[in-house]
């Protein structure tokens, strides 16, 4: 009955013994049938396309490119599972491919060690063992597994299978489905670019030879032709369109003639001058519009100075938010935080900061506010922005956020942040 209702009235279902079948009793109209077949095919193709489209993202399958990162400084406990480290900086996360492909499957990432793999093929005949190892080698994209084979033909066949499918991932340094440049001097032209340095300097000869064998399979990443969507585009926007702002001159205590890093925004590619009091330093270039390096004029005598930057678009001289440096012949070392206790704290808890050169403490600056004074402890509840977290409906109870803390003494502010966790 149900089928009778659902189906067109010209259709019937007939129950016979142990099965059900549907029978068409009306006139056959070939045009209609063809039309329905056409519509069905189009709908199926459309649904398939939508799924394919959602899976691959805008523009379809991204071109495959290879990225080589640096593993040496990655401090994650599961670092062996990381396949791309974008930066040498140890604070950067471990990157994995967002969408596994034939060359970036999780089986590759978590592949067991070579002996463990080989042991899977033990107990078989010689031919079966060779075949087993070859299959594993291709599956795991492991050239080292092919080396286990003794017969040259088997080894050649094994290597052929790997090269046909992708790049050997044995050293686990490779891969991403998007990004980078394959050779040094590739067109990544952004100033102090640690990422590109890591990629180019870590590219080993093995990778380069493998890539050379597979012309057309891996492509050099092409930056977006519209400069707005490149890193240079960002830096150009903050350098060329805004008046200069000065945030910090580091180190705070510096000798006459000493080198300082000036951080801010709106610095032009050329012609940025740091003024120490009324004395101008040498005009300096800025590669990223957000920093430049210059020298404190040797003629400046010891003392505390108001500093500002001038370029053709203006000056940062401000009476509301003055930036100071101390010129001295005996600069103190910058403070360095070495521990925060406890390492995990509740939002209304108190942390105690310990470290080197913390005498003369002037303030502690965290991700959620700051406390001025010589105390090395902070009640998190008193921090300016903690309410943004505790009163947010989106911060789930039990979630842990990692906040940064800097220390400032009369010698200046610590260079690197120290992290502690707050459990909400």
């Amino acid at each position: 009955m149900f089928l009778n209702i659902v189906l067109c009235s010209r259709w019937q279902y007939v129950r016979r013994a142990s099965f059900v079948r549907v029978r068409y009793t009306g006139d056959v109209n070939k045009k209609n049938v063809l039309l329905w077949v056409g519509i069905s095919i189009a709908v199926v193709a459309f649904v398939f396309f939508v799924f394919w489209f959602l899976w691959n993202g805008l523009g379809g399958t991204p071109s495959q490119n290879i990225n080589v990162g640096s593993a040496q400084n990655n401090t994650l406990s599961n670092s062996k599972d990381c396949i791309v480290w974008q930066f040498d900086d140890s604070t950067k996360p471990c990157f994995r491919p967002a969408k596994p492909t034939a060359t970036t499957t999780s089986t590759i990432i978590t592949a067991p060690s070579l002996p463990a793999l080989v042991s899977r093929c033990n107990g078989l005949s010689v031919i079966e063992t060779d075949e087993c190892i070859s299959t594993l080698a291709v599956e795991k994209q492991s050239k080292s597994l092919c080396d286990v084979l003794t017969k040259p033909e088997a080894k050649k066949s094994c290597l052929g299978g790997i090269v046909a499918q992708g790049v050997d991932l044995v050293d686990r340094k490779i891969v991403d489905t998007k990004i980078p440049s394959l050779v040094p001097d590739a067109p990544i032209s952004t100033g102090n670019n640690t990422a590109s340095q890591a990629i180019t300097t870590d590219m080993n000869s093995f990778m380069q030879s493998e890539i050379a064998k597979q012309v057309g399979k891996y492509q050099e990443a092409v930056s977006h032709p519209d400069p707005r969507y490149t890193a240079d585009g960002f830096y150009n926007r903050v350098a060329d369109k805004v008046a200069p702002s000065l945030f910090q001159v580091s180190p705070y205590q510096v000798r006459p003639g000493g080198v300082v890093v000036v951080k801010g925004m709106g610095f032009q590619s050329q012609g940025n001058t740091l003024y120490v009091g009324d004395t101008a330093s040498l005009s300096a270039e800025s590669g990223d519009g957000m920093s430049f390096t210059t020298t404190i004029p040797p003629s400046v005598s010891e003392g505390s100075y108001n500093v500002y930057v001038k370029n053709s678009r203006g000056s940062t001289l401000s009476t509301e938010r003055p930036i100071h440096i101390m010129v001295t012949n005996s600069p103190k070392p910058l403070p360095k935080i070495t521990s925060v206790e406890p390492s995990v704290v509740s939002p209304d808890g108190t942390i105690v900061v310990r470290g080197d050169s913390l005498s003369g403490l002037e303030g502690l600056y965290t991700s959620v506010g700051w406390v001025l004074g010589s105390s090395n402890s902070i009640n998190l509840k008193s921090l300016q922005y903690m309410k943004n977290f505790t009163e947010s409906p989106y911060v789930k109870s039990g979630s842990k956020f990692k906040f940064a803390v800097y220390a400032k003494t009369d010698a200046g502010m610590s260079d690197e942040p120290f992290f502690f966790e707050v459990q909400f």
Partner: protein, 131 residues
């Protein structure tokens, strides 16, 4: 029936045309990296740098979710629809520059960086509560 035939033909043609969109894709070249996530707090204005600091949870820099702060610089970040960058609960997707500290707060004697994972180079925003 003729009318139905024409309607069906138009439908099929529309579907086929939709399957051939004139999209172009370009690789994201470092130091630009892809990111996405949901802001969970009302953004904090950075007093020295005229930018906005917001905490994202989860924050996707890879397939593994994490949490962390990102900075929106109106002068530098290219916004895409719906343009409500840092709106709590709204999904964000875009490219960022890792490690660039672009939120500076003035505190007494100078500015200090409100630490962030990076600065947004461009970002698109969905509707609050959206996926």
């Amino acid at each position: 029936m003729k009318n139905f035939f024409w309607k069906s033909s138009v439908l099929i043609t529309s579907m086929v045309l939709f399957m051939m969109p004139p999209f172009h894709s370009y690789a994201l070249v470092p130091p630009l990296l892809s990111w996405g996530g949901y802001p969970v707090i009302t953004p904090i204005p950075c007093t020295c740098s005229a930018s906005l600091w917001s905490w994202f949870a989860p924050l996707y820099l890879s397939s593994a979710p994490m949490t962390g702060p990102m900075v929106y610089v109106p002068e530098g970040t290219v916004p895409f629809p719906n343009y409500t960058i840092t709106m709590p609960g709204a999904p964000h997707l875009g490219a960022y520059l890792a490690g660039v500290q672009a939120c500076w707060m003035y505190a007494g004697t100078g500015c200090f960086p409100l630490y962030s994972v990076g600065v947004m180079a461009f970002a698109g925003v969905g509707l609050p509560g959206g996926k």
